[in-house]
Amino acid sequence: MIKFVLMVNKQGQTRLSSYYEWLTIEERGALEAEIIRKCLARTENQCSFMENRGYKVVYRRYASLFFIVGVDQDEENELGILEFIHCLVETLDKYFSNVCELDIMFNLEKAHFILNEMVQNGHVVEANKANVLKPITMLDSISK
């Protein structure tokens, strides 16, 4: 299962974090710092997988933002997770139209809702952009 989803920028600032396995605030901070440090140390021509403390980290960089997903070691298809990250980014892109770091930062709640539609409880629920966005846009129209 997916253990956490992070969006962290190049400066190491967390823009979104969602944990599906409970960690204390201190643990989260340490984990994020460690992972982003490792991600930044890697170059373009290195693979997108890292092994770290008993779980596997799959990450992908879009412009200034790292999308980082932590999964169980040997229990999740790495390429599938990469696919999921791409799908997530495409969905965000469709919703915010040309998504950028600031969109996620200032619309944290929306970003979370989108993520929640896609991942529940550490499992990918939905990978269809239209299906993911239907409830979000509908609720947007209601609350306006």
Binding site: S17, W22, E51, L79, L82, F106, Q120, S143
Partner: protein
């Protein structure tokens, strides 16, 4: 208006880059105020901000209650925000979560599917055990919702509830498995996801689903789901090997046809998992296997060759998996894998390394290790450590099965020891010593190489720069091994043609050629002096204590070795030995003042021993008179003990040749020192003690003598003499405690008959202890196990001793032959080890020295010097003793703690149940279990109405009513245990886990609470029923 939205907060934080924390704490004060206000909208904003701040790492636990407040807001927008906050912030210890039960219940029934969806999402994050227990029925009923959107979320939420409340699984699983036939593919996919996750915990529960899953596998085209099905199937494989054969072809079909790399990889992975299970009961393999294996190998090769790093990585991982069942197929790709070692990406390199180590065979070992060595030079960090580990691993695995040239291996280890920072020093140390002890033929080479290490100033310098930081790294370890090997086998250092030719007699070889070469090369004592001064230099004083102790101890060995080597040179040799010993003594002085107790102890002992043997006179002999007196006493003692017949052969020869007559006594004393280390170190298995039969009539608890001093002086000596002359005694002297010189009257006894509990022989202290034991100890139980039957004739076999030893060595599985090439290995393997060709000194006749009767004298000497040594040291020791060093009753504390807190392992209660313990059952088994449960309920009502608390019996009732409602599902063994109380249950689980220990555990739990005994007995009866299947 001071309303501040999340956007304002974010902007504010960005504008206050300098003093973010103070800005945040100011904001927190505002937020707290807002949370307490009655304005719903303000509260909502505050909750939003809290969610954001929590992400930044601010502790917001205080807000839990307010979040729940907002959760009951009428506006869904507010509720949704608070649910998000709850999902992010709450943990299983958040107590207020319980307040949400009814809120969630209400929202679950909402007509708006998005509201219900949001609350399901929230529940799957915040579920606690109690929430799960109370809500699992509600969620399960949503599985039948008309909307797929709800159904799929309910399915996933259920998984979390199972994790929190495993007992819920049997109740609801039947409704969950129906979702595999759902009309909506995404619901099926989610169900597969959940079952996949569940089956990882306990695959047996889901074997029954295999046909259904197989159907999905062959018909579905949803790649996300296929991946999960393939995963699920491979997790079932260990439980049902027949599945493996059935899976092969459909998987291969997907491998051939699919475009999706992820699915392709997953299928290959599953095939590699299945391959070990494909053999039919008669041992034959299905016909398709070779074709499928080569298909997988080809696809994986494409992966590795792909420019995409991700695929390269996965290809290597896949090959590692494939290697487990088909190493040959993978070995074909050796060159390609070697290429990967040069990859930029350390993750890829690690995998390639793992793959390479699996490919090693006897033939390509040297080739591969040489390539790895090239990489070690440039590597760094964890990767370098891994490289070294792997090199050592491939060379030493299966008792050096792949290694044919030990000298080469020693030179590899030396090369590794020179790496900057000395990573894995401890590992190298263990390897070096192990090889030197196990492979007699490589000893001369190893000793020379180690001497090179000792003399290498660079190593010592590096040790100074980077003192021992971690347990496993550091030059200190290597120096320890170097000093031990070089000094233990110091007499082998001179390369002589004779020893190179015959792989047997190192000692005799030197004896034969010593005089010829003595004029050209340096004298052995000079070589020893060089080594000793390297070890005992001032630089060593700053090293780790254990290295210093080893240095001191081994320097003493060098003195002994020099006695050995100088023996044939007559009085000139003796003078050199004396000089050398005096030099060593001088160099030891600083160590005798060391702040480390072990170092000091050893140095003082060594000094006392040297001065006792008249080899060294302390510079500041304040107690000169007393010393003189004791010396005289010693001389008397020596004369008395060494009867004319016992004087070593070599010394009488010296006298006969016209050497100084007075030197006879000196030599005999020196010979005693020599004897201290003369014996070869013999391996002792850590379990050797168990194999020694205790002699009849020996009571280890009986005191030897009433007063320790009397014991030491009188009775001991006589008893010893008797035993030794009887020829069957085994004597141990311990350096640990000078007073504990204990003899064990025994028949022929192999090593291991030690009065010390030699538990950790890996400890360097113990290694030396072992040293001391075997040297000062039994002459008669010398050498090896195979020769122990010939004990009685030992005395006569003086000349044949060495050859017999090597013969017995050949029969001993511990020693490894070196295939003849080890010794003659070219020195150019080892450019950094300077090598001198030395005049080999010859040994005294060993047989004479091995005579048992003189042991008493030696022991006396030892014990006296010990006593004196410790007396000298005692003053300093008192200062050096850390505070509280004597108080050591820690062991009891732990027990007391557990007694107090009542939590030892195995004290499982209801809360500790995990998903893996839950057993789903078929209807028949469920019925049987139910009947069992009913019977138990009846009897427990009858017998133990006292013990069963009211609440637990209530629980029991509700359980049985539930299970009778749905006869298909029952709690199974673990579920039944819920009804019993905690102790009873613990025993059930124990029984299930290891039936072998049944009796033991039984005793344990019955002693823990006798009142549960009858309960437990019934569980025992239930066991076989439940374990059917």
């Amino acid at each position: 208006m001071f309303e501040k939205s999340l956007q304002d907060l974010i902007k504010g934080i960005r504008n206050h880059k300098r003093d973010q924390s103070s800005y945040i704490s100011k904001a927190m004060v505002e937020i707290k105020k807002e949370l307490r206000s009655t304005d719903k909208h303000l509260k909502y904003l505050a909750v939003q901000k809290i969610t954001y701040l929590q992400m930044l790492g601010v502790d917001v636990d205080f807000a839990s209650f307010h979040i729940i407040e907002v959760m009951s807001a009428p506006r869904f927008q507010h509720r949704r925000a608070s649910m998000l906050a709850a999902a992010q912030i709450f943990d299983t210890n958040t107590e207020v979560v319980l307040l949400t039960t009814n809120l969630i219940k209400k929202d679950l029934q909402s007509q708006n599917m998005y509201e219900a969806g949001a609350v399901l999402n929230c529940l799957s994050n915040i579920a606690t055990r109690e929430l799960a227990r109370d809500l699992i029925e509600d969620v399960a009923s949503m599985l039948n919702s008309t909307r797929p959107f709800i159904r799929k979320k309910a399915v996933l939420t259920l998984y979390k509830l199972y994790v929190r409340y495993p007992q819920g699984l049997p109740q609801t699983f039947d409704r969950l498995r129906l979702r595999l036939d759902d009309s909506d593919m995404s619901v099926v996919s989610c169900t597969v996801n959940v079952i996949c996750e569940l089956s990882r915990k306990n695959p047996r529960n889901f074997l029954a689903l295999a046909p259904q899953l197989f159907q999905l596998l062959t018909t579905s085209s949803n790649n996300w789901m296929l991946i999960k099905i393939v995963k699920l199937m491979s997790s079932l494989l260990p439980e049902e090997p027949r599945l493996a054969r059935k899976l092969l072809e459909p998987l291969a079909k997907i491998v051939e046809s699919t475009q999706a790399k992820s699915l392709l990889y997953e299928c290959i992975h599953a095939i590699t998992q299945a391959l070990p299970y494909t053999a039919r009961p008669d041992g034959s393999q299905p016909k398709v296997v070779p074709a499928i294996v080569s298909l997988c190998a080809a696809k994986l090769r494409d992966f590795v060759k792909d420019p995409d790093q991700n695929l390269k990585y996965l290809g290597l991982v896949g090959l590692v998996n494939l290697m487990r069942s088909h190493p040959r197929v993978v070995a074909e790709h050796k060159e390609m894998v070697l290429q990967c070692l040069m990859d930029d990406d350390v993750t890829v390199r690690m995998r390639a390394l793992e793959l390479l180590t699996g490919m090693v065979t006897k033939r390509n070992l040297i080739d591969i290790v040489q390539k790895l060595l090239l990489h070690v030079e440039t590597a760094e960090g964890a990767y370098r450590d891994e490289l070294i580990d792997k090199i050592v691993y491939v060379c030493s695995r299966e008792k050096y099965a792949f290694l044919s040239n030990f000298a080469w291996y020693v030179s590899v280890l030396v090369q590794l020891a020179h790496i900057h920072g000395a990573p894995r020093g401890k590992l190298l140390r263990e390897q070096l010593i192990d090889v030197a002890v196990r492979v007699p033929d490589v000893r001369p080479f190893a000793a020379r190489a180690m001497r090179g290490l000792l003399l290498d100033r660079r190593l010592a310098l590096r040790n100074m720069q980077a003192p021992l930081e971690t347990e496993d790294d550091g030059v200190a370890h290597t120096l320890f091994a170097a000093s031990w090997i070089a000094c233990e086998y110091a007499t082998l250092i001179e390369p002589t043609p004779a020893s190179a030719q015959s792989s047997v007699a190192e000692d005799q070889g030197e004896e034969g050629t010593g005089e010829v070469a003595s004029n050209e090369a340096r004298l052995p004592t000079e070589v020893f002096l060089e080594m000793a001064s390297a070890m005992l230099s001032d630089a060593s004083l700053s090293m780790a204590p254990f290295v210093q102790a080893a240095f001191v101890h081994n320097a003493l060995k060098l003195v002994s070795a020099s006695v050995d080597a100088e023996l044939p040179f007559g009085s000139a040799g003796q003078d050199r030995t004396k000089n050398f010993a005096a030099r060593v003594g001088t160099m030891l002085e600083p160590f005798a003042r060391s702040e480390h107790i072990t170092v000091q102890d050893r140095a003082v002992n060594a000094l006392a021993l040297l001065s006792r043997l008249n080899l060294y006179v302390a510079p500041t002999s304040a107690d000169a008179t007393s010393r003189k007196v004791t010396e005289e006493a010693d001389d008397l003692l020596l004369d008395a003990d060494l009867g004319p017949s016992d004087v070593p052969h070599a010394s009488t020869e010296d006298a006969g040749e016209g050497g100084a007559g007075s030197s006879s006594k000196e030599t005999s004393k020196a010979a005693l020192l020599q004897k201290l280390f003369a014996d070869e170190l013999v391996p002792v298995s850590t379990r050797a003690q168990e194999k020694v039969r205790r002699p009849a009539g020996l009571d280890l608890n009986k005191p030897f003598h009433f007063t320790a001093s009397g014991f030491e002086e009188s009775a001991m000596d006589r008893a010893l003499d008797e035993q030794l002359s009887a020829g069957g005694g085994a004597l141990r002297v311990s350096f640990r405690d000078p007073k504990s010189i204990i003899s064990i009257p025994s028949g022929p006894s192999p090593y291991g008959m030690s009065v010390e509990d030699s538990d950790a022989s890996s400890d360097e202290g113990d290694l030396m202890l072992l040293d001391a034991q075997r040297r000062s100890g039994s002459r008669n139980s010398k050498k090896s196990k195979s020769s122990k039957h010939k004990k009685s004739s030992k005395r006569d076999r003086t000349t044949g001793a060495t050859s017999a030893a090597s013969e017995s060595r050949a029969n001993d599985p511990f020693y490894l032959p070196s295939n003849g090439q080890a010794v003659s290995s070219p020195e150019n393997d080892l450019p950094e080890v300077p090598m001198e060709h030395l005049a080999p000194g010859s040994l005294g006749e060993e047989g004479e020295l091995l005579d048992g009767s003189s042991s008493t004298t030696l022991r006396d000497l030892l014990s006296q010097s010990m006593r004196e040594g410790s007396a000298q040291a005692s003053i300093v020791v008192e200062d050096a003793m850390p505070e509280g060093a004597l108080a050591s009753d820690d062991d009891d504390d732990a027990d007391a703690y557990y007694r107090k807190h009542g939590k030892r392992k195995g004290a499982l209660n209801d809360d500790d149940l995990t998903l893996a313990d839950i057993r789903l059952m078929s209807p028949e088994e469920a019925a049987a279990a139910e009947a069992e449960e009913a019977a138990r309920a009846k009897s427990s009502a009858r017998k133990s109405s006292k013990t069963a608390s009211a609440s637990s019996s209530k629980k029991k009732k509700s359980k049985s009513s539930k299970s009778s409602k749905s006869r298909t599902a029952s709690l199974g063994e673990a579920g039944a245990a819920v009804a019993a109380d905690a102790a009873g249950e613990a025993s059930v689980k124990k029984h299930k886990k290891d039936k072998k220990d049944k009796k033991k555990k039984h005793k344990k739990s019955s002693s823990s609470s006798s009142k549960h005994q009858h309960n437990e007995g019934k569980v025992d009866n239930a066991e076989p029923l439940l374990l059917l299947e």
